[in-house]
Symmetry: C2
Subunit: 490 residues, 2 copies
């Protein structure tokens, strides 16, 4: 009998080609172990609430009221909800036609897109047009839609940083396009070098690929670096020269754990550069409610803003969004609340400010704990320089991405086991400690160099135990595989 | 200067090819008119809450509590919430790790997939495996994912009913596949004729297309027909012979407005048929929280169940789902509640039963009102037979799909205006009355025959005024364009 259409050998090859290590082999094995009763610490994915981070109270109050609008007519509502949450719920319901159960416009509720535009204006100092802001079910869905608009086939390439968040490699594979890697430089705090970009484009062209877009992740995932304004200007200049759309993944813009280099958006830098660049470079910027001190991953809310995209294309993007009817409406309300939180003087302001600061401060401490922990381990290196970017890997985002210097015998053992060396290491780590990480190979890394990614999200009080359990495993692993006849620590 | 990557002329052609009339020209014009202050009755999309349908109280109470879990510790919670809603919220929160703000497994929460499996077992009398049930952000997203797995390129065809819900044509175009139409027979209550299927497949093969899948929409959208068990058996037999995956779009399974032909699922009929067919035919069935008496469109919740799909493919589908991290969690809770509503004896049962029955009874009355209204209009025909399927167009789903017999002079006038004739008619209807419908051409129809689709969702008390406003417009339109020298009513 011939294979059936959904038999493995006859499905879409692009589906098979897509790889997504964040929920790949390590995650699947961790899920199995959890089913068997082992305690697993899921640090594979930036999912703060799953590791005990409490949601901010005010937005949850507002969305709960929007879900139960009949409470707004109940004389007892004030027993459980503060007046500003009640007022805000009424405000958001007034922006809908039919509440949270009605499809919104496929771009999202106009009133919320307006609040997003106002946020961008306050952040960047340049006006933003709500008609060019589309709300999405998380930032990922927006990235996928934009890449789908750009990629026409195998001959179309997208510049993606390596290491990268594998949403990009997976989506490009699914869409049948070509990933054009550019390497971030680990020894320069994962800096982005424009010469490297140039070389990547030249090599791609040599292979017959038309490079059409470039992705930056700022702050970086998994690498945590924050791009400087000067660096962003170089990138935009490069996109202008090479006729590339820039996709600015800025979902970690709230996650900055140093004061020297605050977040600057690609949009602001583009506008600062003035014409012709500010009028010519096509830019799509992405944001989310899943990260920052919100961490509302499960709600699936995000937006993208389009700059210098002609109206005909904006309409096509609208049309394709409309096939999925609308992004989920509760998460649109979360987005409204994120860009328009309680203000000083509001009843809920103090609580909101206290909760937000508490989370960010704790993330900062955890980032430091983790970096120091990794650096105290044999053959594990988590920072390279002693300048202001000392903690280069914990400047931003939610991850630590230490280099693991695997001894040749460990690499050999991995080969014997049929595993990529860092997968081998991470699986052993998982089995020994329950810590579920993602091997660096899932993000891309230079040949022969290995990493792992872990989030900095485990609860602060558990962090010392986790790091000491990591250290014990790692140091024993190194002991086991190091060549005692003279292999020395690098 | 060369075009930029997101200039219209250089974007992905498949994006341009996709058409989605439900939110197409008519909807865009209606939105414009609304902005200008005109009162618009949006009957273009099955969006019940937008037209005043109230959400069911119990599920909203449960989800509100899940959004605000801190209320569960508040001694006053019972002032606003019944005890069974509180218990149920605790139950669903216990199925999560971190509440609604945490990503779930990419297939959805295991506990809810288990509740879905139990629902399917109760409904069909055959066991269902939670591991083969994936929760999605609405049924559409599931359909898109499955089609993406099946379609490898232009040479792959999917049998789609005509008229069809344009999700299918749009998605097939986006994925670069080929739509293979099979016509439903209007004069036989939009029945599905297997000879017609055979002919469609033969014609497609002649063009070099490999037909790999077949879509049925049951109850039909836009046509409302409910497929008989005998008909479903023929379809499954046909899929077996022709080696096709069957996609069973069953999102309207609660929307049945007659008693003679209750909903029967494709899964049940497949299992009833026994081996070899029950073991061989690959089936994916779709369901949603957006339709039925729930109408929770804006929450974006759905699921699909896979039957006879090999584990390697199920894993690939899991992998691709994981790139989007997880379906939104609040809608997963809605799905749990839909498949596991309050039971007799529960505190909230009476209210739940009363609300559900109220909505369904009203939909049934509105369907009848609308059919009768259309049939009273000049050159508008909404049913063809006098047998038990008298109200053939309002047996199921949420739509009415009357045929509009346009006089030759109207067709001529449309041509002059550069419009498809039914688009011309629907635009005039919109301008005159504010009623926003979808032209039949958006769903597909036979050459020279025209329809429109309207939902049956406007509030019952507004229905007489809407139908009389429609009748006034229509009869004047016909008066204007009929040939008074002898053109006679068909």
């Amino acid at each position: 009998m011939p294979p059936k259409p959904l038999d493995y050998e006859s499905i879409n090859e692009n589906v098979k080609r897509a790889q997504y290590a964040v929920r790949g082999e390590l995650y699947l094995r961790a899920s199995e172990l959890q089913k068997e009763g082992k305690k697993i610490i899921f640090t594979n994915v930036g999912n703060p609430h799953a590791l005990g981070q409490k949601p901010l109270t005010f937005p949850r109050q507002v969305v709960a009221l929007c879900q139960a609008p009949f409470l707004l007519d109940d004389p007892n509502v004030a027993v459980l909800f503060p007046a500003d949450a009640i007022a805000r719920a009424k405000h958001y319901l007034s922006l809908t036609t039919g509440g949270l159960g009605a499809y919104s416009d496929s771009r999202g509720l106009p009133g919320i897109r307006k609040e997003v535009a106002e946020f961008i204006y306050r952040r960047d100092g340049y006006p933003s047009d709500p008609e060019l802001i589309y709300l999405t079910d998380g930032a990922s869905k927006g990235v996928m839609q934009i890449l789908n608009t750009i990629i026409r086939g195998q001959g179309d390439g997208v510049l993606v940083p390596v290491p990268q968040y594998p949403l990009y490699s997976a989506t490009i594979a699914l869409l049948g396009g070509s990933l054009v890697p550019y390497f971030l430089e680990e020894t320069a705090n994962w800096g982005l070098d424009v010469n490297e970009l140039r070389q990547s484009v030249t090599e791609a062209r040599y292979k017959g690929i038309t490079v059409r877009a470039m992705v930056i992740i700022n702050p970086g995932n998994p690498t945590g670096q924050c791009l400087s304004e000067a660096n962003l200007r170089e990138v935009l200049q490069f996109c202008y020269q090479e006729n590339l759309v820039l996709l600015g993944d800025e979902v970690y813009q709230q996650n900055i754990y140093q004061d020297e280099r605050p977040f600057v958006s690609s949009k602001k830098v583009l506008m600062d550069m003035g014409p012709p660049i500010s009028k010519e470079v096509q830019l799509v910027s992405f944001h989310t409610v899943s990260k920052g001190y919100w961490g509302e991953c499960g709600q699936r809310g995000g937006y993208f803003e389009m700059t210098n995209i002609p109206p005909e294309t904006v309409d096509e993007i609208y049309k394709v969004a409309s096939v999925s009817l609308s992004p989920n409406v509760p998460a649109q309300i979360f987005m409204g609340l994120m860009v328009n939180p309680p203000k000083p003087g509001d009843i809920s302001f103090d609580q909101y400010a206290r909760e937000s600061k508490g989370i960010l401060d704790s993330l900062r401490r955890r980032a430091r704990l983790m970096t120091d922990g990794f650096n105290s381990c044999r053959n594990v290196v988590c920072n390279f320089t002693e300048d202001i970017m000392h903690d280069c890997l914990c400047l931003g985002a939610m991850y630590s991405f230490p280099q693991i210097r695997l001894p040749p015998r460990a690499i050999e053992a991995a080969k014997q086991a049929g595993k990529v060396p860092d997968v081998f290491y991470c699986l052993k780590l998982l089995e020994a400690t329950g810590i579920s990480t993602v091997p660096g190979s899932g993000f891309g890394q230079k040949e022969g160099i290995f990493h792992l990614r872990t989030t900095i999200l485990p609860a602060e009080e558990e962090m010392p135990a986790i790091m000491s359990s990591f250290k014990k495993f790692n140091d024993e692993f190194m002991e086991q595989y190091e060549d005692h006849r003279g292999y020395s620590r690098m």
